[in-house]
C-alpha cells in the first residue's frame, strides 16, 4: 500500500506558541495567527506564498535574501516578511509593482553568480532558486559576465574564486559553485542539530560556506552527517549522492525509522520500488523534522548484497547451508520443533521476539509460543537492556514506560542525564535537548565518561559526576540524602500523590550516614560537594527532568537504580507536568513495543501476569486454546536449560543473541546444545552460525505495521517496496504457526492490531484508521484517552499512590583486584547501531570502522600502551583484542568500548552477572586487565574461522 502524500509545505518561519491571537489581512484575505508569528508565516497560513530564499520553517528568520519583501499599510519601505512580526489589524500586500521590481532585481543579482546548467543539475525540478526565478518572472540578467564563483576558468586562466566539490562525506556532496550563501545550512547545523560544524567564512564577495576550518573537509569537520543542512539547502549545493545518482523521486511513502528508540517519522522518497532518499517528516511528533546519520542515510543495508533472500536449512551446524523452498524450510523447522516437544516435553522449546520488528510481528511471535507451543517460553532483547525499567517504573508508578513525550524537553529547566549518551545513542533527542540547553536549561550528567553532551556549544551551566561504574545506586541515593537532609523535597506533592508515611520511612533510610556524599565519595569517586551541588540543582529547578539509558539498567542493581530515580522525581514533585518526568531512552526502535506486546515470559500484552486468571481466560477465548499459567523461561534461563539438555529448540526473530548477549561463550555453548535453532533475519548473523534453519526476513521498508518508541508513541510503518524475500516477517511467523497446525488467517497487520486492541486495555482505541488520521498516538489510548496520552500520571499515579522503595546499595560481585584492576564499561557511537548488522553494511563505516578501547593516559602509560596500539582486554570470562585510544574522557581505572563489530566481540569479556530482579545482564561493569598485544586474540581467530565455516552455502544445482 503506497501512500502518496504531498510533502508538508514550508511555512517560511517556525511556528510560534502564544495565547494571544493577532488578526490581519494579507492580500485581502483575513488571517489570525499567534502573536509573534512572522508576516511570511501568516501569509502562508492564508495560503499565500511569499517568494523567499533564505527563509525556511526549519530555522529562525534571518532576513538576508531580501526576496520576501512586502508592503504593509502604514509602514515605511518594503520590510522583509520573514523578520517582521504580525501586528493587530495589519494590512499586508505581497504582490505590488514595487516589490515585484525589487524581487526581480534581487534575483538578477543571484543569477549573475550562478551556473545556468539547470538541465543537467541534480536539483533540477527540486530547486528553490529555479522556482523563485520563475515566481518573480525573471527574464533577463543584465550583468556582464565577470568575477564569479562557478566557472572553473575564465578567458585569462583558472578562476581563483572557483572551488571544487567536497565529496568527502559518503552520503552527500557539497558543490560551492552552486551556493547562494543563504546560510540555511549553517543555521540548520546550529539551531536544529546543535553541532555548529558549519560557518560562513570571509565577508562580502568572499563569503562562503565552510565546514570547520580552512583545512577541514566535511568529513574531517565536526559534522555528524545528520543531513539537516542538505534538507534545507534550496539549491544543489548540498545534495544527497543518491539524488545525483538516480534523479528526483516521484512518490513519497510515510514511515518510521527502524533504528533507535526515538522513533523518527520519515518521508521515504521513492522512484518506483527504489528508495532515493529518506527525509525526516516535519509533522513527525518525535523528531519534528530532524534526523540523524543512521535514519537519514544508513538504509542501504536493506538492499545490501549480503542479504539472504531464500530459506536455508542444514542437518547439523557444522554442515554447509542448503538453499530450499519455503515449504521445505518450514516443514523441516516444524518437524524438529514438534519432535523436541515430543522427546523433551512441551516446555523444551521457545521464542525470542525482536525489538526491531513491528508490534504486530512481535505479538504473533509471543502468540506462537503461548498458543501454539503451549508454554510461556518467550523473551526479548529488552531482557538485556531495559527490563529493569519495566520492573522499576511499574513498581514505583504503575506503568512500565517513560512518563513524558519528547516535546516535554522544550519546557525543562534542568535535565539530569544518567547513564545515557543521547548525542550518540539517541541523536535526534540529543539535538532537541541541546536546543533547550542553549536556551539556558541546566545539565547534570552522571556517567563514568565525559559524554559529548557536556561539550554542547553555547550551553549554560553543566555538572559532570564521573562515577565509578557500578555505583549508580549509591550516588542517586546520596542525592536523595542531600534533598532530605536539606529539606528540599516537595512536601505538597508527596502528601497529595504519594504516601507520606512511606516517604518518611524512605527519608529515614536516605538520611543514614552511609548515604552521605562523603561516604559515597569513597565508593563512587564523585566529590561530595559535587553530589551536594547536583542534588540542590535538581531539587530547586522549577521543572527538572530525568533521562536515563542503559548505563542505569545494565547493572546487577539496574532495577534498584530505576527505583532510586523514581524516588528522586517523586520527592521533588517532578512528575505530571511538562518539562519534568522520568524518561528512559530506549535502545531499539520497538523495544517499548516488544515489551508492550507480551514478549516477556511472565506477562501477556499490556503487562498482565500469565497467572492472572481473567487475562488468561480472555486470551483462551480469543485464541481458542488452553494456555499455561506458569511463567516461561527468560533468555539466560533458556541458555542454562539448554546446557542442561532440557531446552532444545528456539525460534529467534530479528535478534543476534550471540553478539548482543553477555558472555558469548556461554551463549554459543547453549545454542550448540539445541536440536533446532531457527534464525529469522535479514543476514546470516552471528547467531545463525549455530542455526539449523534460516528464514529470510524483510526490512522495515518492506512491511506494514507499527513501532512504539521510547515515549510510548505508536508510529505507523508503511511498506515502500515489495519484500525482496517474498514475505513480510509476520507472514513468515504465520506460515510457521500454520505448519504447526495453528490455522491463523491474518491478511494484514491491521487485523493483528485489531486483536491487540480487543485484548489489551491500554491499546483499546488503537486502530490503523486512527493512526493514519493522527499520524501517531501514545498509549494508553482507550475510552479515557481516545487520542492517547502524551503525559502520564498528571492527576496521580497509575498505581494509585507513587511508591517510595528503599534502595540499598549492594556492590556488584564483579570487583577489581590484582589480576583485573580496571573496570570496563561499554556504550555506543553515533554512526553505528547495536551489533552493527545494519550500519556496518553502509558507508557509516567511514566514521567507525572498528571498535576501539578508550583508556586514560595514566593507565596507558603504566602498561606501555601507545595511542593506536593493539591491546588485549581480558576478564574472568574471556579476552579479546582491539586498538587503544588514549583519552581523558574516561577516568583513571575505567576503560570503555563499543560492541558494534563482531570481530571484536566485546561481549566475550562481559560476565554473566545480572540484575537481581530481571536478569538484565551487567554489561556496564566488568573487571578487566589491559595489556599490549600483537593483534587479534586466539579466540577471535578461532571464532572467525568457525564463522566462515558455518556460513558456507552449497551451490544450487544448475537447471
Amino acid at each position: 500500500m503506497k501512500d502518496f502524500i504531498i510533502p508538508s509545505r514550508d511555512m517560511g518561519t517556525p511556528a510560534v506558541k502564544s495565547d494571544v491571537i493577532v488578526n490581519l489581512t494579507v492580500d485581502g484575505i483575513p488571517v489570525s495567527v499567534p502573536s509573534g508569528t512572522s508576516v511570511m508565516r501568516a501569509a502562508a497560513v492564508a495560503g499565500i506564498s511569499v517568494p523567499k530564499l533564505c527563509a525556511t520553517d526549519h530555522v529562525s528568520a534571518f532576513g538576508s535574501c531580501r526576496l520576501c519583501v512586502v508592503q504593509i499599510d502604514g509602514m515605511r519601505g518594503t520590510p522583509a516578511s520573514c523578520t517582521t512580526p504580525v501586528g493587530e489589524g495589519m494590512v499586508v500586500r505581497t504582490q505590488t509593482d514595487e516589490v515585484a521590481q525589487i524581487r526581480k532585481g534581487v534575483m538578477e543579482l543571484y543569477i549573475s553568480d550562478h551556473p545556468l546548467d539547470c538541465l543537467t543539475c541534480a536539483a533540477n525540478g527540486d530547486c528553490e532558486l529555479q522556482d523563485m526565478a520563475g515566481a518573480v518572472g525573471l527574464r533577463e540578467v543584465r550583468y556582464e559576465p565577470g568575477q564569479n564563483h562557478f566557472a572553473k576558468r575564465s578567458a585569462e586562466g583558472p578562476n581563483p574564486e572557483y572551488r571544487p566539490k567536497d565529496q568527502s562525506n559518503p552520503y552527500f556532496t557539497f558543490d560551492p559553485a552552486k551556493c547562494i550563501v543563504c546560510s540555511r545550512c549553517v543555521r540548520a547545523c546550529e539551531e536544529v542539530q546543535g553541532t555548529f560544524a558549519l560557518t560562513i567564512e570571509g565577508r562580502g564577495f568572499d563569503s562562503r560556506v565552510s565546514a570547520g576550518m580552512e583545512s577541514d573537509s566535511f568529513l574531517s569537520s565536526d559534522c555528524v552527517s545528520c543531513g539537516a543542512c542538505v534538507q534545507v539547502c534550496p539549491t544543489a549545493t548540498l545534495i544527497e549522492n543518491k539524488v545525483i545518482e538516480i534523479g528526483t523521486p516521484e512518490h513519497i511513502v510515510k514511515t518510521t525509522c527502524a533504528y533507535c528508540g526515538v522513533g523518527c517519522s520519515f518521508d521515504v522518497h521513492m522512484r518506483g520500488e527504489e528508495v532515493v532518499r529518506m527525509v525526516p517528516s516535519m509533522d513527525g511528533k518525535a523528531n519534528r523534522g530532524h534526523s540523524c546519520v543512521k535514519g537519514r542515510f544508513a538504509w542501504g543495508y536493506a538492499t545490501h548484497q549480503d542479504r539472504k533472500l531464500e530459506p536455508m536449512i542444514r542437518e547439523k551446524i557444522t554442515d554447509p547451508w542448503r538453499v530450499v523452498s519455503w515449504d521445505e524450510a518450514l516443514g523441516f523447522a516444524a518437524d524438529r520443533l514438534r519432535k523436541s516437544q515430543a522427546d523433551h516435553g512441551r516446555d523444551s522449546i521457545g521464542v525470542i521476539t525482536s525489538s526491531r520488528c513491528t508490534n504486530e510481528e512481535t505479538y504473533l511471535v509471543q502468540k506462537l509460543a503461548r498458543a501454539v507451543f503451549g508454554n510461556n517460553n518467550t523473551d526479548t532483547c529488552a531482557r538485556v537492556c531495559h527490563s529493569p525499567t519495566g520492573y522499576g517504573l511499574k513498581t514505583a508508578f504503575g506503568t512500565s514506560a517513560g512518563t513524558h513525550d519528547f516535546d516535554s524537553v522544550e519546557d525543562t529547566d534542568l535535565a539530569l542525564v544518567i547513564g545515557a549518551n543521547p548525542t550518540d545513542g539517541h541523536p535526534v533527542f540529543g539535538s532537541r535537548l541541546r536546543k533547550r540547553l542553549r536556551q539556558g536549561a541546566g545539565l547534570i550528567v552522571i556517567d563514568p565518561r565525559e559524554i559529548d553532551l557536556l561539550s554542547t556549544p553555547h550551553m549554560g551551566d553543566s555538572m559532570h559526576l564521573p562515577l565509578r561504574p557500578g555505583t549508580n545506586v549509591a550516588v542517586v541515593t546520596s542525592l536523595a540524602h542531600v534533598i532530605v537532609a536539606e529539606k528540599l523535597y516537595d512536601e505538597a506533592f508527596i502528601r497529595e500523590k504519594c504516601d507520606w508515611d512511606e516517604f518518611l520511612a524512605y527519608a529515614d533510610f536516605a538520611l543514614d550516614p552511609k548515604h552521605s556524599p562523603e561516604e559515597v565519595e569513597k565508593l563512587s569517586k564523585v566529590p561530595a560537594d559535587l553530589i551536594r551541588k547536583a542534588a540542590r540543582a535538581y531539587a530547586s529547578a522549577p521543572r527538572g527532568s530525568i533521562y536515563y539509558g542503559l548505563g542505569v539498567t545494565e547493572h546487577s542493581q539496574g532495577s534498584t537504580t530505576v527505583m532510586a530515580i523514581a524516588n528522586l522525581a517523586m520527592m521533588c514533585g517532578n512528575i505530571g507536568v511538562p518539562g519534568t518526568g522520568v524518561n528512559p531512552l530506549r535502545g531499539q526502535n520497538n523495544v517499548q513495543g516488544s515489551c508492550d506486546m507480551g514478549s516477556f515470559p511472565h506477562e501477556y500484552p499490556g503487562y498482565r501476569h500469565v497467572s492472572d486468571d481473567a487475562t488468561r481466560e480472555l486470551y483462551q477465548r480469543v485464541w481458542g486454546v488452553e494456555l499455561s499459567p506458569e511463567p516461561g523461561l527468560r533468555i539466560p534461563n533458556m541458555f542454562d536449560e539448554a546446557l542442561a539438555g532440557r531446552f532444545r529448540g528456539l525460534y529467534c526473530q530479528g535478534e543476534d543473541i550471540v553478539q548482543s548477549d553477555p558472555d558469548t561463550r556461554h551463549v554459543t555453548g547453549a545454542l550448540s546444545a539445541m536440536d533446532i535453532v531457527i534464525v529469522h533475519d535479514l543476514f546470516l548473523n552471528e547467531t545463525s552460525n549455530y542455526a539449523h534453519v534460516f528464514l529470510p526476513g524483510s526490512s522495515f521498508l518492506e512491511k506494514d505495521g507499527t513501532f512504539t518508541n521510547a515515549e510510548r508513541r505508536i508510529n505507523l510503518v508503511n511498506r515502500a517496496m515489495t519484500p525482496k524475500n517474498g514475505y513480510e516477517d509476520w507472514e513468515v511467523t504465520q506460515l510457521l504457526a500454520n505448519r504447526l497446525g495453528a490455522n491463523w488467517t491474518y491478511e494484514h497487520p491491521r487485523e493483528i492490531m485489531a486483536e491487540i486492541a480487543l485484548t489489551t486495555p491500554s491499546f483499546a482505541n488503537v486502530t490503523y484508521d486512527l493512526l493514519e488520521r493522527e499520524g501517531s498516538v501514545q498509549w494508553p489510548c482507550n475510552e479515557a484517552a481516545p487520542l492517547g496520552t502524551p503525559l502520564m500520571h498528571i492527576d496521580g499515579f497509575v498505581r494509585g499512590k507513587g511508591k517510595f522503595i528503599h534502595t540499598e546499595y549492594v556492590a556488584t560481585e564483579e570487583r577489581t583486584g590484582a589480576r583485573f584492576p580496571l573496570l570496563l564499561t561499554t556504550g555506543r557511537i553515533l554512526s553505528q547501531y547495536n551489533v552493527g548488522a545494519q550500519t556496518r553494511r553502509t558507508d557509516n563505516t567511514a566514521w567507525h570502522p572498528e571498535d576501539i578501547l578508550e583508556i586514560h593516559p595514566s593507565d596507558a602509560e603504566n602498561r606501555g600502551v601507545r595511542d593506536g596500539d593493539w591491546v588485549r582486554v581480558a576478564s574472568r570470562s574471556g579476552d579479546t583484542s582491539l586498538r587503544a585510544l588514549i583519552t581523558d574522557r574516561v577516568a583513571p581505572g575505567v576503560v570503555y568500548t563499543t560492541f558494534h563489530h563482531p570481530t571484536t566481540q566485546a561481549n566475550v569479556v562481559t560476565t554473566d552477572n545480572s540484575d537481581w530482579a530481571t536478569n538484565c545482564p551487567e554489561f556496564k561493569v566488568t573487571a578487566v586487565q589491559v595489556s599490549p598485544s600483537n593483534g587479534p586474540s586466539e579466540w577471535q581467530e578461532e571464532y572467525q574461522s568457525h564463522s566462515d565455516q558455518s556460513r558456507r552455502i552449497l551451490p544450487t544445482a544448475a537447471e
Partner: protein
C-alpha cells in the same frame, strides 16, 4: 614573530592568552588580537583551542577569524604597507597610486618581498576620507599619499 618550536609551547602560550581574557565580555576578539600580536598571524591550530575554551566550535572561530581581513592566516613581512582602496580614495586616484606603488615595490596585493621585509595589503577605508588617498604603515597613517611620500614612509620604517 615566529611560531614556537613545539606544538606544546604554542598550546601553552595560547592557553595563557585565553586565560587573560576569558572572563571578559566578548573575549574572542581580544584573544585573537593578542595571538596575532604574538606570532604575527593567527595559526589555524589556535582555533580549536580557543573554541574549546570558550564553549564554541572551531567552525565558529574560523568564521570570525576569516571575517576580519586584519587577522592573517600566515605570517606577514616584518612591515605591512596598506593602501586604501575604498570609494573616497578611488575618486582621488587611489587606483593609479596603487599601480605606481606596486610597480615601484615589485609587489602585487598580499605579496611579501623575498627578504620578508615588506608586505603590501589593500585596505578598505582608514577613516581619512577627507585627505584621500590614504596609506598606513604600522601605526603611522598618511593622508594625501603620493608615490614619493609612500616610498619615504617605507624607507623611514627601515623596510
Amino acid at each position: 614573530m615566529s611560531l614556537p618550536a613545539s606544538p606544546v609551547e604554542l598550546t601553552e602560550r595560547i592557553a595563557e592568552i585565553i586565560a587573560a581574557h576569558k572572563d571578559r565580555e566578548g573575549p574572542m576578539l581580544p584573544i585573537l588580537h593578542d595571538i596575532q600580536e604574538e606570532w604575527g598571524f593567527v595559526p589555524e591550530a589556535a582555533q580549536p583551542i580557543i573554541a574549546e575554551a570558550l564553549g564554541l566550535t572551531r567552525a565558529e572561530v574560523h568564521g570570525v577569524v576569516s571575517f576580519y581581513h586584519d587577522f592573517r592566516d600566515h605570517p606577514s613581512g616584518r612591515h605591512v604597507l596598506r593602501l586604501c582602496r575604498a570609494e573616497a580614495c578611488q575618486s582621488m586616484g587611489a587606483d593609479a597610486l596603487a599601480a605606481q606603488v606596486q610597480a615601484a615595490l615589485g609587489l602585487d596585493w598580499h605579496e611579501t618581498t623575498p627578504d620578508g621585509r615588506l608586505t603590501l595589503e589593500p585596505v578598505f577605508c582608514l577613516g581619512l576620507c577627507a585627505c584621500a588617498p590614504s596609506a598606513q604603515m604600522g601605526d603611522r597613517l598618511m593622508g594625501r599619499a603620493t608615490l614619493a611620500k609612500v616610498q619615504r614612509l617605507v624607507a623611514g620604517a627601515g623596510a
